[in-house]
């Protein structure tokens, strides 16, 4: 019995993977496989093998690999938002909430025991490595209509509203937080793989500091 359920648009699957054991195994193993060998190298055949079932079974849950990735990434944004909502209850100022939000975007995640079939840490690394691939396609407009990007949009809205609490006149809340969320991912990637594109040799703490400064300096009235 799940204490917690993350909502993902029904257009993101053929058959809801959260409802069956096989479905949960697909989620669990595809996160593992994709993080390990990279989205491009994963096939439904390999996933079938990993879940000790067949390619056809995976197709029964997801139309294709792209939809599966979109599902996982949406799940992640949804879960992050839940996590943030929980932590925000313990904080008072919008500024503190924004600071904590940046930390949650960047710092490594512990497993959430309420959801045993998803390893949030691995999923976070998967998101860092793959998230733009779900919208950088020629199908973006139709997929947008089907709710493929709702998770990301909601998270941007939530954070944007916090910014407006600090400065109701700030003109670019959506642009700022789509930038910050995206930078949170890419700075993690750059720190590991293309260090000349970051200044975070000292680790994730530096990324948090960079992003927090950038966020608060942008919002502040002056």
């Amino acid at each position: 019995m799940n204490a917690l359920n993350i909502s993902v648009s029904a257009k993101l699957y053929n058959k809801n993977p959260e409802e069956t054991d096989l479905g949960k195994r697909i989620l669990s193993k595809s996160i593992e496989l994709m993080e390990e060998m990279g989205y491009e190298h994963v096939t439904f055949k390999k996933i079938g093998l990993a879940i000790e079932s067949t390619e056809a079974s995976v197709y029964r849950y997801f139309q294709n690999k792209h939809q599966l990735l979109a599902y996982l990434i949406n799940w992640y944004w949804g879960w992050l938002e839940v996590k943030m909502a929980q932590e925000f209850m313990m904080l008072n100022s919008a500024e503190d909430k924004l600071k904590r939000a940046v930390e949650l975007l960047v710092l490594p995640m512990d497993e959430d025991e309420r959801i045993p079939h998803i390893d949030e840490g691995t999923l976070q690394r998967l998101v860092v490595a793959e998230y733009p691939k779900i919208y950088l396609t020629k199908e973006v407009d139709t997929e947008n209509e089907e709710g493929y990007f709702l998770g990301y949009k909601r998270l941007c809205d939530t954070l944007g509203n916090l910014a407006l609490q600090i400065n109701p006149g700030y003109k670019y809340p959506h642009s700022l937080f789509s930038t910050v969320i995206s930078a949170a991912q890419s700075q993690q990637f750059f720190t590991e793989h293309l260090p000349r594109l970051s200044d975070a040799a000292t680790g994730r703490g530096a990324i948090v500091e960079f992003l927090t400064e950038m966020t608060l300096n942008s919002i502040q009235k002056r």
Copy 2:
């Protein structure tokens, strides 16, 4: 006779496409095709057809589609840097140069007549739609060693140094400009396809303003 030559690492091609007519046709047509139908839907067979030659001919110039995309994107960053260097000569303050840099990243490009085989406007749109795909792969580390990302890195350095002229104590010049360059691309994409992720309904001017503000507010001593 080219008045201008953009340098791209020799690891980014099998045979230098700038040296032959067929090579230039490959560049020209692949920019067109990729922008039009999207990277995923392009094949070397289709490029072969478009240049009125064959698949095998394209393989003589590029090992695969990924390398071709990396070539085009590196060419673009190299070209942007040349463009910026030219324009910076007419400006005095580092701040003015940064402002102009942001405009060049975001505003539509005119064709550079010195390079007739490359349509810079189309290439810019291609970069907006595809640029993260060259580094978001499991091969990133080996490709990095081969110079696949030099163009991006150099541009970040150049802009980072301008920031340091304004505030020598600024701690995150690389992170800031990898973020700004990347945001320049993604905000263009979001404005067109996922408008809830931007506040630029009014067009590119708003993107320029957002990024300029963010950049200068981040750098400034306070």
